[in-house]
Structures are given as C-alpha cells and as structure tokens.
C-alpha cells in the first residue's frame, strides 16, 4: 500500500514528470550504448556527460526552489552546499587513485606528497570507503546548514540580509579552500580521478551509469519536494513566505520550519554536487564562487519559482544556452546575455516560464466559470455584504 504522504504528492503533473524523467534515464544511455555512432538517433558520450552535468544542476535548482519558491528564503550561497558534497565525493575518488598517482603513494594523494605532508590528515580518514563518503556527502552540507541556519533564523535574519550572509558564507569557504594548508588541494582542487566503485570514471558505460543515477536522484528529489509541499507542512511554508508575522502569532515556530527546510535543501544540494564531480572530473574552490550561486538563482527564476518543474527546466535550458553560446562567436557576450535574461524575466515574466504557463492555464480554465459565478451572485446572499470601498 502506498503511504498517504506519497499518494498526496502524486498529482497528475508529478506522475507525468516522473515518467518523463524515468524515460530519459533509460533512453539516453540506451541510445548511446546500443546504437552504432552512424545511426541518426545515436547520442554521443559527450552529450551524455554534458546532460548528466545539467541534471545535477537541475537537482541543485530544485533544492533552491524548495526554500526560495515555497518559503521565501533566498539563499545566494547554495553553491557552497553543492561544492561541499562535491568535495566529499572528490575525496573518495582521490583515495581510489592509490599507487597510480604521479608519486605512486598508496595512501596520500599527490598534492600531499608534493607539499611534503608526512601523513594523511585525520579528516581524510574513512574516505576510501564509498559508503562513508556517501554519508559525508549528505552530512557535511546538512550540518553546516543546520548550524548556520540555527544562528540566522533564531536571530530572525530574513530577506536581503539573509541573502548577503549566505554570499559571505560561500565566499569564506572559497577563500579557505584556496589555501594549500586547508588540506583539499588548494587552488588545483581534486582531480585526475581513476575509478569509482571499481569502474573507470572515463569509460562510456560508467558515464551512462552516472547519467542514469543522476536522473534517478533528480526523480527522488522531485518526489521528496512534492511530498513536502503537498503536506500541511508545505501549507505552513507558504504561510511563512506570504505573512511571516501572522504565522508566528498563530503559534507556529517559524525558525524551526525554516531550519528543517534549509537543512533538507542543503542535503539535496550536496547530493547534486557529489554526482556532478565524477562526471566533470574535477572539483576546485571556484565551485564556491558567489557567482555560481547567483547563476543557480537565475535558473530557478527563469523556470519559475515555486513550481519545482520550472526549476528543473530552467536549469537545463539556461545551461544548454550557456554551452551553446559560450562555444561560438558570441562567447565573450554570454555574461551580458545571462544578465539580460535575468532582467527580462524579472520584468516581463516574473512567474518564470512554467509559472506563467500555469497561470495562463488556470485563467483559461476558470474563464467561463467565473462569469457564471458572477451571474449566480444572488444565490450567495448569505455571504457577508460587501463593504463600502
């Protein structure tokens, strides 16, 4: 039997979208692995890796939409949680290199040998086990969000002030990770990976598997978000977003709600980062750069915040455009285009692509019934009389 919180989450749109993601998770690897390169339907391994990366961005956008679209928390530092998840995965991948590194040290990654570190720092212990790294992928961003959020929400830091301190958070982490003595490879970061779970990370089959797993993670993330927003908890979130003080006076502990949601969102961002790293083959401190986090906000705004589907579409569309435009003649102008896109969406499409479409759809559907309701007004005579305007 399906639990009630799941059935509640599964409206028609959700089922359709999940089915679409499942189809993509199967079809894309199949078209790459099973067809000969000469076939018109063949998808190149480059394409699989590229879209695998977009899927990870989509999961990050989903995490951001959950807090921004439904609870009004605009985090401009979500890239930090993404990067922390990525570093946790990167540490696992580094420990898998073993003696195949340049210095052939069985324990220490190359950069530690190069820096003359006599032994592995304690915080690198355990990362040779995939299960341990997988736990850290969720735990580290989650813990940071919990501690950071506890201080911020308890002090009632909201709105633009919250956004600014999240920028400071990711910037501080970037500066830290740039330092060699921080123990994460300094500005070079972690790279030159060989294996993941015993499979070559560069191999075609591994890339296809990573794509499928990323899409599966996106599906689960989407379901989780739906389950959250479809519950009474989700109704409280919207209440907080629209009238925080009122929600407090109703007896809801607003800071607890924000903290739970922010932590959940950070964990999702961490998973996205962990899946991203083996597909791009590197993690370095530039992933913490504040601009990355802002870009993620643009994806959500373009797709439509508070729609979940919009966040996913926005991330894929904007990133596809980025890949397309930064590899041609227009490359030097990409940032201007991105800026213009954000301004255009804010001015002309404030609900985003999916949000505007839904709005249009509900108006289209409600169009006729509204007229009937006005005609039937006398029947509602037991409603309180209208006040004088």
């Amino acid at each position: 039997m399906t639990p009630f919180w799941l059935t509640r989450a599964l409206d028609r749109g959700t089922v359709l979208f999940i089915a679409l993601l499942a189809a993509i998770a199967v079809l894309v690897p199949a078209l790459n692995l099973l067809l000969p390169p000469s076939s018109p339907f063949y998808l190149s391994t480059y394409f699989v890796a590229l879209f695998g990366k977009y899927i990870c961005y989509a999961l990050l956008a989903l995490a951001l939409d959950l807090i921004w679209g439904y609870c009004g928390i605009l985090s401009l530092g979500h890239g930090a949680f993404f990067a922390l998840g990525g570093y946790a995965m990167g540490m696992y991948l580094m420990r898998q290199i073993g003696t195949r590194g340049v210095y052939a040290d069985p324990i220490r990654p190359d950069f530690m040998v190069f820096l003359n570190w006599p032994e592995l720092p304690v915080y690198w212990y355990g990362f040779q086990h995939f299960a341990y790294a997988a736990v850290m992928v969720v735990l580290v961003p989650g813990l940071l969000a919990l501690v950071f959020g506890w201080f911020a929400f308890r002090s009632r830091v909201t709105g633009v002030y919250f956004s600014i301190i999240t920028q400071a958070l990711t910037f501080a982490l970037m500066l830290g990770f740039f330092r060699n003595n921080f123990g994460f490879g300094g500005n070079n970061g972690l790279t030159d990976y060989k294996d993941i779970l015993g499979f070559n990370v560069q191999a075609q089959g591994t890339r296809c598997a990573l794509f499928a797993v990323s899409t599966l993670a996106l599906m689960l993330g989407f379901l989780l978000c739906r389950a959250v927003v479809a519950s009474k908890f989700g109704k409280v979130l919207i209440a907080i977003r629209d009238a925080e003080a009122r929600t407090r006076f109703l007896g809801y502990r607003v800071e607890s709600y924000k903290l739970v949601l922010f932590t959940l969102s950070a964990c999702m961002a961490g998973v996205a980062g962990a899946l991203y790293v083996p597909q791009v083959g590197i993690i370095n401190p530039s992933e913490f750069s504040p601009a990355n986090s802002i870009e993620a906000v643009i994806w959500v705004a373009v797709g439509g915040r508070g729609t979940l589907v919009g966040a996913v579409l926005g991330a894929v569309l904007v990133n596809y455009a980025k890949t397309y435009f930064t590899s041609g003649l227009l490359a030097p102008y990409w940032l201007f285009m991105l800026g213009a896109l954000f301004i255009a969406v804010t001015l002309f499409l404030p609900r985003g692509v999916v949000g505007s479409f839904r709005h249009w759809l509900t108006r289209e559907r409600a169009g006729k019934p509204v007229v009937e309701a006005t005609l039937a007004q006398p029947a509602l005579s037991h409603a309180p009389p209208r006040p004088a305007e």
């Binding site: 919180w5 519950s231 009474k232 919207i238 929600t247 006076f249 109703l250 037991h382 409603a383 006040p387």
Partner: protein, 250 residues
Amino acid sequence: MIEPTTPAMLYLDGITVSFDGFRALDKLSFTVEPGEMRAIIGPNGAGKTTMMDVVTGKTRPDAGAALFGGTHDLTRLDEAEIAELGIGRKFQKPTVFEMHTVEDNILLALKDDRRPRATLFWRGTAQADRRIDGILAITRLAALRERVAGGLSHGQKQWLEIGMLLAQEPKLLLVDEPVAGMTDAETRATAELLKEINRDRTVVVVEHDMAFVRELGVKVTVLHEGAVIAEGSIDQVSMNERVIEVYLGR
C-alpha cells in the same frame, strides 16, 4: 506551576515601552477579568497597538509586569509560546494567507500540534473537517470555502481572520479595529459575532468607532499617551472631562 497571583485573565502593571526616547507606553496598568469583553479606545498614538504587541510577545517592555491567567509572565515568552498559551490576535489590517484557500486558512489556524514533524505527516480527519465546517458557518464563509483568500472582499477577509482566531480556540482574543472599512450592516453583524464569541472567551477590542463601542455595551478603557486616563461604561467615560479634552483637543 506557581500559584496564581491574580484572578485576572490579563494583568498589566506599570508597563513602559520606549522607542528612541519616545514613550509609547508610560506605566500602563489595567486588568481584564475572565469572561469579560473590554473595549480599549484612544486617539492615534495612544499606545493601543503597542499594548497588543507587548501582550502577544512582539515587543518586550522596558519595565512592568504582564501576567496571563495570573501565572504566565508574558514578558518572558515569544509569539509562538504566547499563541500556544491561548492568546489570539487579529490585526488592524486584515492579514490572511492570500495564496491559500479559505479552508486552508482555517486549517492552518486550527488548534493542533504546531511542530514541523506533526505537520509533515498530518492527514485530514473527520473531526478537523467538522471544526472547519463549524467555523465557516459562524463566519458565513461556507460558500467561499474553495476560494483563494486573496480574492475576498475587505469585509470577508476581516471575517475570515476572526474565523482563524476562533479556530485557534484561544482563551483571550485581542481584536484590533475589527470594523475599520466596514458598512453599517457589517459593523452590526460584527458586533453580534463578537458578543457570540464572548460567551465562552475573554475578548479585548481596540476600536476607534464610538458607535460600534456603544453597540458592544461593555466596559471601556481610554488610553492617552501610553497610560489609562479613564475607565467605565461608555456613557461614563464620554462625560469625563479629561476624555473630552483629549478627543476634542481642548
């Protein structure tokens, strides 16, 4: 639990609140008995809203005591704790959750476990539905159940907010200018509604509208410059020299 120190439902003694040197409340003291309905009147800037902020935990007073039910020190609790104790507040400007339906607005206000875990796994019950039905009937919003609250008229929003207050099942209701912007008919209906609510709850009404206060027919406290200047029936206070001076600016 300490022994009640006063039989009063709400006990304010020497409450002082200053904002940047301006004294919004100046040693304000009054008490409200259980089951009473009290009207608070006063010109603009008399400190009516600040008084409500102190009682509901939004503002901490610089000095003074505020007790609820004789045992709970309101100056040490925050908004959520005070709401949990049973003090409900209706704002001057109707504040409902505009994006939610009328039904969901009431649902969110229903007295229930407010913790995140409880709401995450909450599922509708027949009992909750019955309570929502009951409140929608009292506030005459049953026909608008599925409508989004943002689309309601001003008067309907006022009533929805009163319905939300009822759903909280508070012991004490603080109602800030409930009839602002209402027609005469609506004002009369609201007075009836408040009297009905007062049958099993203590009510404090802050209001400008003298006709409405007269309609309620309850004890009146007059505030001026953050302190009580008169108390009694509406006829008594409207003959008070000091009140006339304050209201007419003589």
